[in-house]
């Protein structure tokens, strides 16, 4: 519908995220981390009795909210995604393998570190947690280095 701009400026989107973080603390005394919601959703799927059901709603909410913003913006378009990899001449199967492998490493690392970009990167740092600041600095630095290596290996395609 193009009601939303192509991309919210970061100085609007960032403070909005910050207010959501503060809001969930004020309402529920809980951080807005995403990887914990994956864990609860996995527990719900296994039928664990100690599942925190609202985290599953939260997980579903992220999906619905993303769709809503897309409808109000460019509109939902069914496509593969990862155009940069397609443009580099990678086959759909190869792209799927790379994305799957990357996501597995990411999930494993998030569980080991105890958080992800939202958990450690925003909610933990905002609580002034030394562990979160250290983890965030580490994943930021590693991501920059790995991206540099990817760019070199693909001759600038990625």
């Amino acid at each position: 519908m193009n009601v939303l701009p192509d991309q919210l400026p970061f100085w609007i989107a960032g403070p909005l995220l910050g207010l959501l973080v503060v809001g969930l603390f004020v309402v529920a005394n809980q951080p807005l981390g995403a990887s914990g919601a994956y864990l609860q959703t996995m527990k719900a799927a296994k039928g664990d009795t100690d599942t925190v059901s609202w985290r599953v709603w939260y997980f579903g909410g992220i999906f619905v909210g993303g769709a809503l913003a897309t409808i109000l913006g460019p509109g939902i378009e069914i496509r593969r995604g990862y155009d940069a990899m397609s443009n580099a001449g990678w086959s759909p199967i190869f792209i799927a393998i790379v994305v799957l492998a990357g996501a597995i490493v990411m999930g494993y690392g998030a569980r080991m570190a105890g958080g992800c970009t939202s958990g450690h990167g925003i909610c933990g740092t905002a609580q002034r947690s030394p562990a979160s600041w250290a983890s965030t600095a580490t994943f930021m630095a590693t991501a920059v280095v790995v991206t540099g290596i990817l760019t070199l290996l693909t001759g600038g395609d990625l």
């Binding site: 951080p31 709603w57 999906f63 993303g66 593969r80 996501a103 990411m106 030394p130 965030t136 991501a143």
Partner: protein
């Protein structure tokens, strides 16, 4: 409070997903342009999110605010341990390769990019692999400061 908390969780998730998609953080290019230092977008967004939430949470903590459903506001601050660093490094590598992180992967999928599903499945596999190791007693679970906490049993830092 069960049903009401589910609604709260769903709404916060939707708000989170909405902002992520409106910020195009679910796009590979947004992440990679920042990691290649071609754009300050993601750094700026995280900086503004922390810049708003850190001081607000600090003030609310000092005022010993009572939250709506979770008792007195308690922030958690853990000491830095090895798993925060090693896990963070793995997470950063996966983040760069898959070009997305846990919450944006959901928004990617709901924006119509089918390979978002590959990332979501990979994340579940990675989290599950780590959980399996923990269950087998090979290692201890990591409870991050920015992820879901059990307010009845988890002793909160400082």
């Amino acid at each position: 409070m069960g049903n009401r908390m589910n609604l709260v969780g769903g709404l916060f998730g939707a708000g989170f997903g909405f902002v992520l998609a409106a910020a195009r953080l679910h796009e590979y290019d947004t992440i990679h342009e920042t990691l290649k230092f071609e754009s300050p977008y993601v750094f700026g967004l995280m900086g503004f999110a922390i810049g708003i939430s850190l001081p607000l949470l600090w003030i609310l903590e000092r005022r010993q605010v009572e939250t709506v459903y979770g008792g007195r506001l308690t922030l958690s601050r853990s000491r830095i341990e090895r798993h925060h660093i090693v896990g963070g490094a793995l997470f950063g590598a996966g983040w760069s390769i898959a070009g997305t992180c846990p919450a944006p992967a959901l928004a990617m999928l709901s924006s119509g990019a089918t390979y978002g599903a590959v990332a979501v499945v990979g994340l579940f596999i990675g989290l599950w692999l780590r959980d399996r190791q923990v269950a087998a007693g090979a290692t201890t679970p990591s409870i991050g400061d920015g992820e879901h906490r059990d307010l009845r049993t988890t002793p909160l830092g400082s």
